[in-house]
């Protein structure tokens, strides 16, 4: 063997060791979808808020437990919590809550009563009006309030307190448990904190094992118990598992098919093993380089990458075909030299297709492109450096097979040159073109992930029961100071509360509900001060003791310079569930978040907050979808550009007429791919548009090789058939993926390759000049 064969073999061995060492830990796989997508928000604070929220919600798992009776539900929930705790997989399990002591909330707000609670709207500044309000408060049936009449004679503070959204949204406290009554029975809520990131496969495995174990034990103990769960960890682990399943299925199936094909065509164990070497070299090289550069592989890269090996086998196949056709006069190095121009041309045009993806500012796509490019080059190098040394002897001749191939080739050429065939092709093109009217376009990010139906159903049920949505839609409020943010929030809430209350947005969580803006606090104080001169008389008339009145009036004076600030409020234990609403001061400004409860309609919300200063709607899913649409447009123009570029390249290499004919099969492939998508009802997405670019890349290879072989030599024809079958198998398998984006991608490539292979025989139609 020559030195460079040894060197390349050594490099491959090194990359294999590196890859195995990295992958064995299982930590090299990135399941965080957000990480794969580009930053979408122009507003860095919004991007930061999205990430912080994803982290806080992602690191908890939520469970709802329901048994046949309310007391059964409670017992079952406590039992599940016990099981989860014993497993050790959770950092904490929260089942019981200390009851939110209403008296504590009352004590906290009492000193700020005059600032936070507005007086009754339109109340007259007179002793009589105040007296009547006090009497009404005391006369109403069973007015047992949080703050007694001595501290809140007018009832304004109690009105403010009872409008605070504590324990709203269907969740109530019972026996220190969070419970949700429903028509089916009583659900009890539990939450568990993960020991680490939801995207860490180890954490996923431990959490899932512990959950499944605890649930199983619970079902044995409480027959008929219903357990609902949701959480980022379940989605991430579901995505990872289904991707692994698909990768295994796709790679195993295409591997087996490709091996069968090799055995049938080349009938030699040596070729089979060398073919496998070519594929493995591509996969290992690509994985090693991506791990070296990125440290982690996205799930989509692995699934897409497992299909790239079907393409990387092409170069090996063409070399083997030459071996097959050479007969006794086989010289491995001369043969390589003969096919090398075609191989280079093929590699170059394919890489051109992938390189277009590299420039997109989309981390996920870039990695897929890099993976494919490195994989193809590694396979190419294997053909170039190792294969000639491994195939020193000629192959046993297979005259019958070669005769059959020659006959097919001749028949194809004859057929392709008849006028009737041209007419049929033209008609088919028109028919295919007609299918395109059914083509839809869809850029929704949901195409990238399709969690299992059970997970989605459970989450939908949980958010229906609790009113907490996981829509990722929220309103970001920014300002120069705390005062400005709170004032802007209030303007926003005033507008939102005017919206008709529909199922899509029932209520909103906002910090200004708990802490009114300084402006509003001042306004409340001002209005109370206007009533203050009449209050002592009114209190006296109802029968209030003089010392109670005196202490009330002193409270008003004291609160003049005692504003309620967000910081003070955040320190209270009952503020804990709402801390995520306050982003605080960052990068020169202050920001907060207003959450719509239920399942909000982001377009409707956006329209209703139009024109409010400092308020922006954040909907990560919609932003990503918009971005995908934007890239789809770019990809469409890149495709058109690439077609022109390849055309020029071919025209320079082969002349305008032949060059155009070589281009036609891939155009036919693109057309059929589009028609196939339209007929299958799969929308055109960024990914299927990218698939078309690949169709162009592969589709040009086949006529080039046919052209190199010419009329007499069926060797190249065999190479083209085997290569395109391999591509067809590996990408065709992708069409069975559960991820909609990959389905479209696989189907488009498979159909495109099929059509361009069948049409590539056209390249032989004009007889090549003797010099070519």
């Amino acid at each position: 063997m020559r030195l460079r064969a040894w060197l390349w073999a050594l490099a491959l061995a090194g990359m294999t060791a590196f890859t195995v060492w990295h992958l064995v830990g299982g930590k090299a796989i990135q399941t965080d979808l957000l990480d794969m997508l580009p930053d979408t928000e122009r507003n860095p604070v919004a991007e930061q808020a999205v990430k912080a929220l994803a982290k806080t919600t992602g690191e908890r798992a939520v469970f709802l437990v329901r048994a046949e009776t309310p007391s059964g539900s409670k017992a079952a929930a406590l039992r599940l919590a016990e099981g989860m705790r014993q497993s050790g997989a959770f950092a904490d399990v929260t089942a019981t809550l200390p009851p939110i002591d209403p008296a504590m909330v009352g004590r906290f707000y009492a000193p700020y009563a005059w600032r936070v609670a507005p007086p009754e709207t339109g109340i007259e500044a007179s002793t009589e009006a105040l007296r009547s309000q006090i009497e009404a408060r005391l006369a109403s049936p069973g007015s047992f309030s949080i703050v007694g009449p001595g501290q809140d004679p007018l009832g304004n503070l109690n009105a403010f307190l009872s409008n605070l959204p504590f324990l709203s949204s269907g969740v109530t406290l019972e026996d220190d448990l969070l419970v949700i009554p429903s028509a089916q029975g009583l659900y009890v809520m539990l939450t568990g904190g993960l020991r680490g990131s939801a995207f860490d496969p180890e954490v996923q495995q431990r959490t899932l094992d512990a959950t499944v174990g605890a649930e199983k034990a619970l079902k044995a103990e409480f027959p008929g118990v219903e357990i609902l769960r949701t959480g980022g960890v379940f989605y991430a682990s579901d995505a990872r598992e289904s991707a692994q399943r698909e990768t295994n299925l796709i790679s195993t199936f295409s591997m087996v098919c490709i091996f069968i094909l090799f055995v049938a065509v080349f009938r030699s164990l040596r070729h089979l093993l060398l073919g496998a070497l070519g594929i493995a070299a591509g996969f290992v090289g690509a994985t090693a380089v991506c791990l070296l550069i990125y440290g982690k592989l996205y799930l989509l890269t692995i699934v897409c990458g497992s299909s790239v090996m079907g393409v990387s086998v092409d170069y090996t196949v063409h070399y083997f075909a030459t071996h097959l056709g050479a007969g006794e006069g086989w010289n491995p190095f001369a043969a390589l030299k003969k096919i090398l121009p075609g191989l280079w041309m093929g590699l170059f045009t394919t890489l051109l297709g992938y390189a277009a993806l590299l420039v997109a500012p989309f981390p996920g796509l870039r990695q897929i492109a890099l993976f494919s490019i490195v994989g193809l080059i590694a396979s190419f190098f294997t053909v170039l450096f190792i294969l000639p040394d491994m195939l020193p002897r000629p192959m046993p001749p297979q005259p019958r097979f070669m005769r059959a191939q020659r006959w097919i080739l001749d028949w194809g050429i004859r057929l392709s040159q008849t006028r009737r065939a041209h007419l049929i092709i033209l008609l088919l093109v028109l028919l295919t073109g007609l299918c395109l009217v059914r083509l839809r376009v869809d850029d929704a990010v949901q195409g990238l992930i399709l969690p299992s139906r059970t997970l989605r159903a459970q989450e939908a049920r949980i958010s229906e029961l609790t009113g907490f949505s996981n829509s990722g839609i929220f309103l970001l409020v920014q300002g120069a100071s705390e005062a400005e943010v709170l004032t802007r929030e209030e303007a926003l809430l005033d507008r939102l509360n005017k919206l008709p209350k529909t199922s899509t947005h029932q209520s909103f969580q906002a910090i200004s509900t708990f802490v009114p803006s300084p402006a509003r606090q001042q306004e409340n104080l001002h209005r109370h001060s206007a009533l203050a001169p009449f209050l002592p008389l009114a209190l006296k008339a109802v029968g209030f003791k003089a010392e109670v009145t005196a202490s009330l009036m002193k409270g008003l004076t004291d609160s003049l310079d005692r504003p309620l600030s967000v910081a003070t409020w955040l320190e209270t234990p009952f503020a804990a569930p709402y801390r995520r609403l306050w982003l605080g001061t960052a990068s020169g400004g202050t920001a907060s978040v207003v959450f719509p409860m239920g399942s909000p309609d982001s377009k409707e919300l956006e329209a209703s907050v139009q024109g409010l200063p400092g308020v922006s709607l954040v909907d990560k899913a919609r932003s990503v979808s918009n971005l995908l649409g934007h890239y789809r447009h770019i990809a469409t123009w890149s495709l058109i550009g690439a077609i022109l570029l390849v055309w020029i390249l071919l025209a320079v290499a082969y002349g305008l007429r032949i060059g155009t004919i070589i281009l036609l099969p891939s155009l036919g492939g693109i057309l059929l791919a589009l028609a196939g998508l339209a007929l299958a009802g799969i929308p055109l997405t960024l990914f299927s548009t990218l698939a078309l670019i690949l169709v162009l890349g592969y589709g040009v290879d086949y006529p080039i090789f046919m052209r190199e072989g010419g009329h007499e030599d069926p060797t190249y024809f065999i190479g083209v058939q085997v290569a395109s079958l391999c591509t067809l198998i590996s990408f065709g398998m992708l069409a069975f993926s559960h991820t909609p984006a990959l389905q479209g991608f696989g189907l488009a490539v498979a159909l495109g390759v099929l059509a361009s292979t069948l049409l590539s025989i056209l390249a032989l139609a004009p007889k090549p000049k003797v010099s070519a």
Partner: protein
Amino acid sequence: MTMLKPFLVLFSAVALFSQASKPSLPEVLTAHLKNTPRLHVAFTQTRTLAALSRPLKTSGRLVLAREYGVIWQVQKPLNLTYVVGPKGMLEVGPDGKAKLKNAKDVPMVAQMGRILQALLQGRWSALEDFFTLRGEGTSEHWKIFLVPKPQTAAFLKGVQVNGGKFIDRIHVDEPSGDAMDLVFERPRPDEPLSDEEQRLFKFE
């Protein structure tokens, strides 16, 4: 009425969803209340508050109609009417101005009617999750003691209901030491609803 809410929220859920099991002693003692479709009764409410130098007395009348809800009408020292029905609550102030609280806007209010009725009609099981109930006496002369469970204790210290054929008296002790006494008099179970009452019940 808003002051009622924190108290009522606690009741709401369970009042709706707890199933009736075998009747408890309080249920047996007050079975008659449940079977009264309609009741007009006068009440006197006396609140003894630490903040007041003398107890505050209010009086008025109560209309209970099983198919509609409750009218709670304060007549002295001021005019104040609360109508609680399945659609929500209507509050008519001393100035005659009506304030409507829609059941959809304030779901807690919608459940309030059912709770008030549960109390007044003696459907005790609906309150069992918040109180430990104890009954004594005969169906002619009974006493029901409601001892608050921990989550209710922030608002109430104890409730005692006395009655015979109908409810005679409700006494409530608050944790602050304040107390409320409601005395019911002149029950008229057969009196039909007046036009005015029907109009009030049919508020939209």
